[in-house]
Amino acid sequence: MITVNRYVCGYCGACVGVCPVCALELVETWLEVSDECIECGRCVRLCPTGALSLEEAQG
């Protein structure tokens, strides 16, 4: 799943604009990731601050 490092995120919304399935939503400084996420990693690569990462689900 996509993990947001909220200490690094600049809440610019670039990730929201590139998400192919509309899984992201920015609410003020808070980035929400919905279950629609297909873990394609496009937002991770394009994040200007490097705040996003794609991590294997536990278990």
């Binding site: 610019c12 919304g13 670039a14 604009g17 690569r45 994040c47 200007p48 490097g50 705040a51």
Partner: protein, 391 residues
């Protein structure tokens, strides 16, 4: 709640659309999801004087600085100077967007639009398959705002188009990912906007320095998404500032994504119009989006008033918007997309060669197109495939 037109997003495009429609007697609601309009900024704040002045009377309250022109640097440091009135749509005034965006929203409010902040669009309302307004969340409560037409001016993050079946998702090659510092440095040239090219500095983009007066400047860069990696814009900007202005004092940080996809296939749907960055109308070469958004917003405001008055708010009734923006701002956006696709492939050697070739020419009174014409004459082999752009 019921109105004629609901505009999603109170940036320059949305506010101009709301103001224009309200001036034509429309009952307009302008939504902004943030609690403060204009803040945080996601912009380098440069605009051309002439084009801005044709749309709104310049006001010293939101002009941070005026510049004389632009200086463009090749990777090896060789450069050319262009005068302000010829340097394209990003050079002339450097704005204070936090104040500018509020002023435009207030103009819309004065014209009669109802502005609602901290109100986030959640989805389109539909009845019998047609769009009937917006469902929104306001202060944590869900409200339905019925309207004949929804104008999506919701920026790079746009959802309105996607809800209406227009795929506006940006691929990596369709976005410049950017970082910017507002900084103080004694070396800042207060009279010129500066542009630095180079694949090491900013792959597939450029570094900019836009002065804001008294040695303050927006110094930032954009990297084409297809050549970026996580966090690259911030890392590259820190490196640029550390090397070139080690004494700089950084007082603000800005990040953002700029659409550079060029014109998308359609910007209207039944009861829906897209404006500005939401319609991917930002300039693919410069990344400038303010003026195109404002102009598109004005056209959208005029067309929506006609459509609502005539009772046809379907695709047919809104088609005039699609036609008018493509015939005006659309042509340059399309030309600049071709230029961008070409220039992001050039090596630093190519960029240096191009810059050296025009050192003996007087380009100070040329616009971008004139300069391109000269470049093609001097470098016919390298630039052969661009000749259609200056015919």
């Amino acid at each position: 709640m019921r109105c004629d037109v609901v505009v999603v997003g109170a940036g320059p495009g949305g506010s101009m659309a709301a103001k224009t429609a309200a001036e034509r007697g429309m009952n307009v609601v302008l939504l902004e999801k943030r609690q403060e309009i204009g803040d945080p900024v996601r912009c380098a704040e440069g605009v051309s004087k002439a084009r801005l002045s044709s749309m709104i009377k310049p006001d010293p309250r939101w002009i941070a600085a005026e510049v004389k022109g632009a200086r463009l640097y090749a990777p090896d440091g060789s450069n050319v100077v262009m005068s302000e009135d010829k340097s394209g749509d990003e050079v002339g005034y450097v704005l204070e967007r936090k104040i500018f965006d509020r002023a435009l929203a207030m103009d819309a409010a004065r014209a009669g639009a109802r502005v609602m902040v901290k109100t986030r669009a959640l989805d389109l309302l539909r009845a019998n398959g047609s769009v009937k307004g917006i469902r929104a969340m306001r202060y944590g409560e869900i409200i339905d705002i019925e309207a004949d037409v929804v104008i999506g001016a919701d920026g790079v993050e746009s959802k309105v188009g996607r809800w209406a079946g227009i795929d506006t998702a940006l691929k990596p090659g369709d976005i410049e990912v950017c970082a910017q510092f507002l900084l103080y440095d004694k070396g800042i040239d207060d009279e010129y906007c500066e542009f630095f090219l180079g694949n090491e500095l900013a792959p597939g983009g450029y570094v900019w320095s836009f002065p804001k007066g008294e040695h303050l400047a927006n110094v930032g860069l954009g990297v084409i998404g297809s050549r970026s990696e996580p966090g690259a814009p911030v890392k590259l900007l820190r490196r640029f500032v550390e090397r070139r202005m080690p004494e700089a004092r950084i007082v603000e940080m800005v990040v953002g994504g700029v659409p550079v996809s060029g014109p998308i296939e359609r910007t209207i749907a039944d009861g829906v119009m897209l404006v500005g960055d939401a319609a991917r109308q930002s300039d693919p070469i410069t990344g400038g989006g303010i003026l195109n958004a404002m102009q598109a917003g004005m056209i959208a405001g005029e067309v929506v008033a006609d459509a609502v008055s005539s009772g046809d708010t379907g695709v047919e009734g809104l088609m005039a918007y699609e036609k008018r923006w493509r015939e005006s701002i659309g042509k340059q956006i399309a030309r600049h997309l071709d230029l961008k696709e070409f220039f992001i492939r050039l090596s630093d050697d190519d960029l240096n060669k191009l810059m050296h070739s025009i050192q003996s020419e007087d380009v100070s009174k040329m616009d971008l197109r004139g300069m391109l014409r000269v470049l093609i004459r001097l470098n016919p082999k390298m630039l052969w495939e661009l000749r259609h752009l200056v015919m």
